[in-house]
Amino acid sequence: MSSTEWPLWEVFVRSRRGLSHVHAGSLHAPDAEMALRNARDVYTRREEGVSLWVVPSAVIEASTPDERDSFFDPAADKIYRHPTFYDVPEGVEHL
C-alpha cells in the first residue's frame, strides 16, 4: 500500500523587514502552493510574519549527532576567532 500521508514541509517566517527568515516549524501539505497557504494559516495567524518560505523537509541535508565531535568540537579552543582582542577606541559607538 502506498503512503497516503501528505509530504512534510519546513516553514520559515520572516517576522519583519530587515530580519532573516527563521525556522518556525513544519506541516503537511500535498504540494508547494498548499504548503505556503497552510503555513500562512498555521504560523502567521497572530501577525508573526511578513514573508514565508516553505521547503520540502526531504531536501534538507542535516548534520547528525554522530558528527558532532568532528563538526563542532574543534571550534571550542579557538578563542581568537572571537573579536575580543581589540581595544575599542574611545568614543566609537557603532562598531
Binding site: W6, H28, A29, P30, M34, R37, N38, D41, V42, R45
Partner: protein
C-alpha cells in the same frame, strides 16, 4: 423597487444616528431599510461562519482544520461588526448578541446558499467558491458606499475574502482535476450548490432608495462579475459549469430551509438556556 413618497428625501442617516425629538416617518423608514440591508449581509456572514465552525476537529488534516477555522472566524468578525451596526441603526437597544442569539428563524435574512448542511468537503469548497466570489464583488463595491460604516467593514473584509476565494479555488482545482472519484464528487457538489447561486443576485427585497443613495449595492449588478470569478476556476478544474434550475430561495424574506432551524438551535441554545451568562 419602491418609489419614495416625497420627491426629495432627506439624506440617509449613517453610522447609527438615533432618531430624536418629534417622530419622523421618512427617517424611520430609511433607518428600517438600512437595518434590513445590514442585517442581510450580517446574517450571510454569521450563518456561513456557523457552518464553517462545524469543520473544526473534522477537517481531513490539522492544517485544513485551522484554515477553515480561520475562514469561519473572519466571517464571524464581519458578522459581529455588521450586527452591532444594525442594532445601532435600529435604535431599539439591541446589540450584536441580541441579534445573533435571540432572533427567531423568520427574522434571519441570510440566503439559502449558506444555511444548508455542508458536511461533505467538496460541498464545503464548492460553496466557499460561490460565496466568497460573491462577497469579493460585494465588499469590493461597498468600499465606496456613502455609508461610512459599511464602507469601513467592506474595506477590511475585502482582503479576508480574497484569501477565502483563493482557498476554495485551490481545492476545487485539486479535487476537480484530481482522481476520477474526486472529479465526480466535486462536480456533484458544484451542481448541488449552483442551484442556490441566483438567490444572491435577487434584488426584490432591497429598497431602491438605498441603492440610489449610494448606501447599498444592487445585487443584480454584481452577477456578471461574480460569474467571471467563478467560471474560469470551474473550467480550469476540468469541471462543467452546471446548468441547473435555480432553487426557490426566500431567505431574504425570512423563509428558510428545514436545516436552518437545526442550525439556530445549536448556535443559540447556550445563550437561550443561560440568559445573561458570562465567562
Amino acid at each position: 423597487m419602491i418609489t419614495p413618497p416625497d420627491s426629495s428625501p432627506p439624506p440617509l442617516r449613517s453610522s447609527g444616528e438615533q432618531s430624536r425629538g418629534a417622530p419622523d416617518p421618512a427617517a424611520d423608514r430609511q433607518a428600517k431599510q438600512l437595518f434590513d440591508y445590514t442585517l442581510a449581509l450580517a446574517d450571510d456572514a454569521l450563518v456561513s461562519a456557523q457552518r464553517m465552525g462545524w469543520w473544526i476537529s473534522r477537517a481531513p488534516q490539522l492544517e485544513e482544520d485551522l484554515a477553515l477555522a480561520n475562514i469561519g472566524l473572519d466571517q464571524l468578525g464581519q458578522a459581529r461588526t455588521l450586527l452591532a451596526y444594525a442594532g445601532q441603526v435600529e435604535g431599539a437597544g439591541r446589540g450584536e448578541d441580541d441579534l445573533a442569539y435571540l432572533r427567531d428563524e423568520r427574522d434571519f435574512r441570510n440566503v439559502h446558499l449558506v444555511e444548508r448542511d455542508q458536511s461533505d468537503f467538496g460541498v464545503a469548497m464548492a460553496r466557499l467558491l460561490l460565496f466568497s466570489a460573491w462577497q469579493a464583488e460585494l465588499y469590493g463595491a461597498l468600499r465606496t458606499s456613502t455609508d461610512t460604516t459599511l464602507a469601513g467593514v467592506a474595506g477590511k473584509a475585502v482582503k479576508e475574502v480574497a484569501y477565502h476565494l483563493d482557498h476554495a479555488r485551490q481545492w476545487v482545482l485539486r479535487l476537480g482535476d484530481g482522481t476520477e472519484e474526486s472529479h465526480e464528487r466535486m462536480q456533484a457538489a458544484l451542481d448541488a450548490e449552483w442551484r442556490y447561486l441566483l438567490e444572491l443576485f435577487d434584488n426584490d427585497w432591497l429598497d431602491g432608495d438605498l441603492v440610489e443613495a449610494g448606501v447599498a449595492i444592487d445585487p443584480a449588478r454584481l452577477c456578471d462579475a461574480v460569474l467571471a470569478r467563478i467560471e474560469p476556476v470551474v473550467t480550469e478544474a476540468t469541471l462543467v459549469v452546471p446548468e441547473v434550475a435555480p432553487a426557490i430561495g426566500g431567505g431574504r424574506r425570512g423563509l428558510h430551509t428545514e436545516q436552518m432551524g437545526y442550525l439556530l438551535a445549536e448556535m443559540q441554545h447556550l445563550t437561550r438556556s443561560h440568559p445573561g451568562a458570562t465567562w
